[in-house]
Amino acid sequence: MDNKSKLKTFLQELLADYGAGPDFGDDDPLVTSGLLDSQAVFRMVVFVEEEFGLDLAERGFDQNDFDSLTNMTRLVSS
């Protein structure tokens, strides 16, 4: 499973926890649209740390990196 697929599966599980459906576009804003909140973002942070070994304290944290599937894929691939 590639990075994008892993992230998409995780986001679908997260959206389900928030009572939202699994269908969303790659560029759909998930946080700034109000679909997910900062508590969800912290779960995303933990996921990318554990799954991809990213250290966001060193890289610098920007919540926009977690706003869409495209942005998250770019973050873990950079």
Binding site: D17, S38, Q39, F42, A57
Partner: protein, 221 residues
């Protein structure tokens, strides 16, 4: 501010040190009325600002969004004061969360939440009242802020524990439990905690605790 139905103001019952002026149920009525009025006032204030943003074409999220439908202590805060919470999350939660206790997930979450809802919250309100610091001097102003510090400490701990033990949002809970029992517990917690959301720095922590005990008809003085 006083209320109709002969309900005394919260300031009046809080200053009734000996508890001889008002019976215990009046203390409850004053506390609950004050909490509801502040909740409503805050919602109206936030909605006014968001309405202006939306009229200007910005699709801003609501500041207060159905707080009585909260599923937990953390959820209430998110629904009650969204932008202040986001401010604290950006400036205190993430910087702490990303740096400290990485090997201990539960402590990591608790500490970061406490840093935001506790420390950040208290710091914001302390620095907001610059006039008090100028009038009293730094240390005396800090000392007069001790009740709000206690409030922030309890709030931060409660939100942290709430997040720690919050189960995933499930739909298998009964309607009564989801819509009545949980919100009553959570709103009740915030209502009682609002005793310490210090609006009068002339009273001590002991005064506030005495008032809390008087709610249960316990008089220590």
């Amino acid at each position: 501010m006083s209320f109709s139905l002969d309900i005394p103001s919260f300031q009046a019952v809080l200053h009734d040190g000996t508890g001889q002026l008002y019976p215990w149920y009046m203390n409850w009525l004053a506390l609950i009325a004050n909490f509801i009025v502040r909740l409503l006032w805050f919602s109206v204030w936030g909605h006014g600002i968001i309405a202006c943003c939306r009229m200007a074409g910005y699709n801003a999220l609501r500041n207060t969004h159905k707080p009585l439908q909260c599923a937990s202590i953390a959820d209430f805060w998110n629904r009650f004061y969204y932008y202040f919470k986001e401010l604290l999350v950006d400036n205190f939660f993430y910087p702490t969360f990303l740096r400290y206790f990485k090997k201990w997930p539960r402590i990591r979450l608790l500490f970061a939440t406490w840093a935001a809802a506790g420390f950040g919250n208290v710091l914001f309100h302390f620095l907001r009242d610059l006039g008090t610091i100028a009038d009293k001097g730094f240390w005396l102003a800090l000392w007069s802020f001790r009740v709000y510090m206690f409030y922030g400490m309890v709030l931060g701990t409660a939100i942290g524990l709430s997040q720690l033990y919050e189960k995933k949002r499930t739909t298998d809970r009964s309607w009564f439990r989801k819509n009545i029992v949980t919100p009553v517990y959570v709103v009740g917690f915030y209502c009682v905690l609002s005793i310490f959301d210090d609006i009068d720095s002339n009273l001590t922590l002991t005064d506030h605790f005495n008032f809390m005990l008087k709610l249960f008809n316990i008089h220590l003085l």
